[in-house]
């Protein structure tokens, strides 16, 4: 255990990120899903800040602040407003039942860890061992998007996946260039807004947010 304290802290935050990903996967309510998403954003911001502090990469401070602003405050607020307007506090209906989803989740985690191990050995950053966790949380969010039937949880899954990707970027290369990061931040913001408008349209057309109505083509 010769690791410096900051790197240990990064490891703990990475573990927390994975824990929150699993919590999102097992969550039944839309409202707590959004709260968990905000927590994940907070962990991500603290993690980015820690990496910035320990490596002296100044631009990471900006991206930590950006994460805090966007993913902890703005996006959860938009989502809260959205579900209030759509009046969707109902329970999430997963396609698979929760224990099976969690079991699949753990298989994904093992897969991601195995995949990341050889890559991590080549990397030289202090955060290299967290790559596996980043990949695992991307896969878990992906699983969440697949197993949820309703539109709002799918969008939250999409946003959580972006969190995972962001974490992967921070942990392998100390973050992407500022332009890319700003671009992505703007992207998910606009994406969420557009998807919010979509929700209203979907509900108007099908009277529900259940996406299985969109699987059939109608030619009229």
């Amino acid at each position: 255990m010769a690791l410096p304290l900051t790197s240990q802290l990064i490891n703990v935050l990475a573990a927390l990120l994975l824990l929150i990903s699993f919590a999102m996967l097992s969550q039944r309510r839309v409202l707590s899903l959004i709260n968990l998403y905000a927590w994940q954003g907070l962990v991500l911001a603290v993690n980015t800040f820690t990496v910035a502090y320990s490596t002296g990469q100044d631009h990471l401070y900006f991206s930590a602040a950006l994460t805090l602003l966007l993913k902890v405050l703005l996006l959860p607020w938009i989502l809260h407003r959205l579900i209030r307007k759509l009046n969707v506090k109902w329970d999430v209906e997963p396609l698979l039942n929760i224990p099976v989803t969690l079991l699949v989740g753990i298989v994904l985690v093992v897969f991601a860890f195995n995949l990341a191990l050889p890559i991590a050995q080549l990397a030289g950053t202090i955060t290299r061992s967290t790559l596996g966790i980043a990949m695992a949380s991307v896969l878990l969010s992906f699983l969440m998007m697949i197993t949820r039937r309703k539109a709002v949880p799918q969008v939250i899954g999409f946003l959580a996946m972006e969190n995972g990707l962001f974490f992967a970027a921070t942990s392998t290369t100390y973050g992407m260039p500022m332009v890319v990061e700003l671009g992505i931040a703007l992207d998910i913001l606009v994406g969420t807004l557009i998807l919010g408008i979509f929700f209203f349209q979907i509900r108007e057309a099908f009277d529900s947010l259940d996406l299985k109505h969109m699987e059939r083509l109608r030619e009229d």
Binding site: M1, A15, F22, I98, L103
Partner: protein
């Protein structure tokens, strides 16, 4: 000389745990009452309950076998044994090589098997119903508990509880992400194994929901007192295992008797905080449907496995 001191200390510690267990239960119950805006029965109510039961005449069902009569004593013995293994105040326990963490889980399992057998022995409907439910919960909680112990063992390269605690408490300070997962899993297993609220409600005798209480319905007087005392020892033992694994700071090192007062103070402080914590957790959570319990414990198991996986990824 040192060995005699060790044995005396061992004896004193396990006696202390047995004596203090009802007090700790009273502390938790008192906080639970306060959190629910009730006045509570006082810290010493469990002792009063035990004294009352010991003074009553024991009644047995007509067809009760010797097993039924022996079970309370076996139960009490098992819990006492378990309490003796856990390093509470110091890690120098001459008795602890007798059983490592795996054997500790085995001791709990032994007590549980006898409890279930005794519950079915008399042949009442509630007894076998309770036994069945208890086994359902136990067989799911046990692997989670074992995985938690394995995670701790991987860190310290030993399955002996004293060595684990020694490593965690006295080596260079390090943050273990795997232990974060393990602590959540352990907490869930603790709640399930001790028949606490999300899984079983210890305060109710409602037929449809009770698990542990259904098994002890046929017991009376000193038998019931021993069983209740044993379950309070079990709760305390689980709590001190949790403290020893996840918050071991302040525990006295082997052979260092001068650190003992600090250890006593630290333990009291930790237990004093853990009581309201447990009560708060129980007040905030509603009882799960019995068929949701496997999901709850499945989550605990997954978290423990995740803890092991993160140990391999992050800490090696």
């Amino acid at each position: 000389m040192n060995q005699t001191a060790g044995i005396l200390f061992q004896l004193g510690q396990s006696l202390l745990l047995v004596a203090v267990a009802p007090l700790w239960l009273g502390w938790v119950n008192q906080w639970r009452a306060w959190l629910q805006n009730k006045r509570g029965a006082g810290l010493f109510q469990p002792y009063r309950g035990l004294a009352k039961l010991f003074n009553k005449e024991a009644l047995l069902a007509h067809r009760a076998s010797p097993l039924f009569r022996a079970t309370p004593y076996i139960l009490f013995g098992c819990m006492w044994l378990a309490a003796g293994i856990v390093p509470v105040l110091a890690t120098s326990l001459p008795y602890s090589p007798a059983a490592d963490v795996i054997a500790l889980v085995g001791v709990f399992a032994l007590a549980r098997v006898f409890m279930a057998l005794a519950a079915m022995d008399v042949g009442t409907a509630f007894g076998s119903l309770g036994a069945r439910r208890e086994m359902l919960i136990a067989f799911l909680a046990e692997p989670a508990l074992l995985m938690v112990f394995f995670t701790a063992s991987l860190i310290s390269h030993s399955t002996a509880l004293t060595t684990i605690v020694e490593t965690l408490a006295h080596k260079q300070f390090a943050l273990y992400p795997s232990m974060a997962f393990a602590s959540v899993a352990f907490l869930m297993a603790l709640l399930a194994e001790n028949a606490r609220l999300p899984v079983d409600n210890p305060a109710t005798h409602l037929e449809l929901t009770m698990i542990h209480e259904a098994m002890v319905l046929e017991y009376s007087a000193r038998h019931l007192a021993l069983i209740e005392w044993a379950s309070s020892i079990k709760l305390l033992t689980y709590t001190v295992i949790g403290i020893a694994l996840f918050l071991p700071f302040g525990i006295a090192q082997a052979g260092d008797w001068s650190a003992l007062p600090v250890a006593v103070g630290a333990l009291l402080a930790k237990l004093a905080v853990a009581g309201p914590g447990l009560a708060l957790l129980e007040t905030l959570s509603a009882k799960l449907r019995i068929f949701r319990a496997p999901e709850f414990l499945g989550t605990a198991f997954l978290l423990a496995v995740l803890g092991m996986l993160t140990h391999f990824l992050l800490e090696t």
